[in-house]
Symmetry: C2
Subunit: 403 residues, 2 copies
C-alpha cells in the first residue's frame, strides 16, 4: 500500500483529502495530532485515546531520550509497545527542544540538576563530573549538533542529525522528522539563512544515515523499518528563504514534508503568510505536516494551503487548566468559574462525547475546584473529542468543495 | 429481595459469605470498599471502576457537603447520577471529619480559608462575617452537634444527627451511617463513655428522623427511599464499653452495624482486640461494616470476627505515591525506585489486571518519575484490582471453611 495517497482535491483551494498508511494503521487526512510528549497522552489511557478516535499522535524525541531513555524503549519493543500506543505515531527530531535549551540562561536549571543529583541513587562519578564543570548543561554547540547535560539526571546527551535518526529509530514512531534548527523570532536574515542552510545539510545527513542503515530494506521513499522521514522547511519570517527551503526539501528523497518554526513568537497573520508562501511549492504526492499549530481558526485557514496534519499541545494543555473546548460558547469555557457551580447542563450539547453524555458542568467544576485528577482526565477526553469531531467536519467540507 | 442475606457460615470461624442487595445492585461479602471521598474514586473513571469489579464504594458526607454541596447533588439526582456511579454506595455520617476538625489547631487553616476568600467570586457578606470573627472555623460544639465554617468557602455548616441524615439522604448513597463521635486515642474512660452515650443518643435521633421522614415508605428495617441505616459501635479502647455499645446498637432497628474508631491511633493488636470483643455480639442477620480498616492482614484476621465490609483509603493513597500492591514481593513495591528503570517485567505476574497485562515496571517508573497523571491512574487501577482479587480469594476460602 502506498505510504501516502491523495484521495480528493478540493475545487475551491489547495485543501485535500488523503490517507497516510503505516505499519500501525491508516490516518485519514487532514488530521489533528495530539501531543503525547513523554510517551503518555497526558491523563489518558490507550483505551480512551482509541475511543476518542485519535488517529495519529506525537512524541518528543528529546523528552524520551531524557526519560525513560531510548535504550529501554528499544528493549521494550519501541514506544508503541511500551506505552500500548496501537496506532500511528510521529516523533520530532529533538531539535526544537535542544536549541531552545541552548538559548536559555541555565542558572536556575543548574540548581535543578544539582537537586536531582543529590538523589543517592545517582552515579557518583557523574555527580563528580558535573560539580567540576563551569557550565554544566550545554557542553558544545556546533555545525555538527549539540552536546548537553540532561536536566533530569546529569547524563551527557548528544544531538546530531545521525543521533536524532538513531534515537527516532529506537523509539520506533512511524513518522520521523529530520534534525533541524528552529530559529527564534525575531532573528536576523543572516542568522536565519545560516540556520536554514544548516538544516538543509542536516537533512542530507539524515537521508544518508537512513539510507546506509537500510541496505536491503528500501521500499518507496522509505529507507528503514517502515519508518518514514519528513524533511523540515525552515526560513523564519523571510518568505524568500521559506520558498528556497521548500524547494530544497521537496527535492530530497523524503517521504513527507513538514513546516517548522511558524508557531514560535510570531503573530497568526505572520504564520499564515509563511505557510502561504510555500503552499505552491509543497509536493502533491507527499503528506505535509505543520509543526506546533492547531487552533480551530488556524486549521480552517491552513488546510487551504495543503496542510495534511497538525500537531499542537493546546487542547490537552488547556484541558488541564479547566478550559474546555466548545462548538458554541465562543469556542471555549473556563469550568473553574463560579457560574458553573450549580450548572447541571453538559459541557457541550453538540459534542456528544462520552464526557458530554455522562457528566454535568457542576461535577466538572467540583472536580477542578478540588484539584481531583479525574477532572483533568475528563477535560482532556472532551477536548480531544472536540478536535476529532472538528477534523471530521473539515474533511467533510473538503469533500464537498466547501473549503 | 432481602437487604442482607447470609449465604454461608464458615465452620472454622465467625467468617461468613453474604449478599447486600440495594437499588443499585448486589454486593457479595466480604467486600472491600474503596473510598471515593469527594464523589470521585481518585483518578479512575466509572468505566474503569466497573471493569476492576468494585462492588461498593464509599463517599464522605463532610467532603460532599463542603463541595459540591448536597443541594446541587440532590438536584443532579444524587451522587450516583452526578458521578455516574452505577453501583452501590456507602456514605459516612460526617462525624469523623467534623470532630477531627473540632480538635485541631486552626491557625494554619484560618490562613487557608482567608486565601480562599480572597477569590473575588466569593460572597462579600460572607467574607465580612468571617473577618469579624475571633475563631472563624468552629462556631459551636454541643450535645446537639457541631457548627463550623467550611474551610473551602467560609460557609457556615451544621452537623447534627438530623442534619447528617438529611445530607446523606440528599447525597443518596444506598448505605448510610448514623451520626457518631469517634474518640481519639488516647482518651480517658470517662470521656470515652460520655462520647459513646452521646453516639447512642444520636443513633436514636437518626432512627427517629428517618422514621418521621418515611411515613408510608417503610420496608423491612429500612425507613426511607431504599437507603439503609447503619448504627455505629464506639467505646474506644475499653472492651466493656465496646460490648455495651455493640449490645445497644444491635438492639436498635438499624439495617446494619458498623464498628468505628478502631483505626485511630491504635496498634493493630489493639484494633483486633476491640473488634474481637464485640464479635459475639454482632447481629447475625444484618451486615457488619468495619470503618477505616483494610490492609491484607487486617482483612484476613477480621473476617473471622464476622466483618462483611471494609473501607480504607490505603490502596488508592499508596497508588498515588507509587506504592504498588503485590501478591508477592512482600505485598508491595515502590515503583519510584531506580531498580525499576530498565525492568521490563509486569508489576505482578499473578495479578492479571489490565495494567499487568499491558505495561512494564519501566514504563510505570518513568510515569512516576515524570509525575505523569497516567501513572497515578494505572497504579490506582492496579491496586484496586489486587484488592478485588484478594477479596475473591477470601470469599473462596470462607466457602471452603479455610478461614
Amino acid at each position: 500500500m502506498a505510504f501516502f495517497k491523495k484521495k480528493y482535491q478540493s475545487k475551491k483551494s489547495r485543501a485535500r483529502l488523503g490517507e497516510i498508511n503505516t505499519a500501525h494503521g491508516q490516518v485519514k487526512t487532514p488530521a489533528f495530532v495530539p501531543v503525547a510528549t513523554k510517551g503518555t497522552l497526558k491523563t489518558l489511557t490507550p483505551k480512551q485515546i482509541k475511543e476518542i478516535g485519535v488517529q495519529l499522535s506525537f512524541v518528543n524525541t528529546y523528552h524520551l531520550v531524557v526519560s525513560p531513555g531510548v535504550d529501554v524503549i528499544e528493549k521494550a519493543g519501541g514506544i508503541h509497545k511500551m506505552a500500548d500506543f496501537n496506532w500511528p505515531l510521529m516523533s520530532d527530531s529533538g531539535g526544537f527542544q535542544v536549541f531552545s535549551l541552548a538559548r536559555q540562561n541555565f542558572k536556575s536549571q543548574i540548581t535543578n540538576i544539582k537537586k536531582n543529583l543529590n538523589n543517592k541513587n545517582q552515579d557518583n562519578q557523574r555527580r563528580a563530573d558535573i560539580r567540576g564543570e563551569e557550565s554544566p548543561l550545554v557542553k558544545k554547540i556546533s555545525e555538527d549538533g549539540v552536546k548537553f547535560r540532561s536536566l533530569y539526571d546529569g547524563r551527557l546527551i548528544e544531538f546530531t542529525p545521525e543521533k536524532s535518526m538513531e534515537y527516532q529509530m529506537k523509539i520506533g514512531a512511524d513518522l520521523n522528522m529530520a534534525f533541524d534548527e528552529c530559529t527564534y523570532y525575531p532573528a536576523t536574515y543572516e542568522y536565519t539563512e545560516k540556520a536554514m542552510e544548516r538544516t538543509h545539510n542536516w537533512l542530507v545527513r539524515c537521508v544518508n544515515y537512513k539510507r546506509a542503515q537500510a541496505i536491503g530494506k528500501k521500499q518507496g521513499y522509505s529507507f528503514f523499518n517502515k519508518q518514514y522521514l519528513y524533511g523540515i522547511i525552515q526560513g523564519g519570517t523571510y518568505t524568500d528563504l521559506r520558498k528556497k527551503s521548500a524547494e530544497f526539501v521537496a527535492s530530497q528523497p523524503v517521504d513527507g514534508v513538514a513546516i517548522g518554526g511558524v508557531s514560535v513568537g510570531e503573530t497568526k497573520k505572520e504564520m499564515r503568510k509563511q505557510v502561504g508562501a510555500v503552499a505552491g511549492l509543497l509536493p502533491d504526492d507527499r503528506p505535509v505536516h505543520l509543526l506546533g499549530v492547531g487552533q480551530f481558526d488556524d486549521i480552517i485557514d491552513l488546510v487551504k494551503c495543503g496542510i495534511d496534519t497538525f500537531d499542537c499541545v493546546e487542547p490537552t494543555r488547556l484541558a488541564r487548566m479547566g478550559i474546555l473546548l466548545s462548538f458554541s460558547d465562543s469556542n471555549k469555557i473556563d469550568i473553574n468559574k463560579g457560574i458553573y457551580k450549580n450548572n447541571l447542563e453538559v459541557v457541550d450539547k453538540s459534542c456528544g462525547c462520552w464526557v458530554c453524555q455522562t457528566f454535568t458542568k457542576a461535577y466538572l467544576h467540583h472536580l477542578f475546584k478540588q484539584k481531583e485528577i479525574l477532572g483533568y482526565t475528563l477535560a482532556t477526553y472532551h477536548n480531544l473529542s472536540v478536535m476529532e469531531k472538528f477534523m471530521g467536519h473539515i474533511r467533510e467540507m473538503i469533500g464537498k468543495d466547501l473549503i
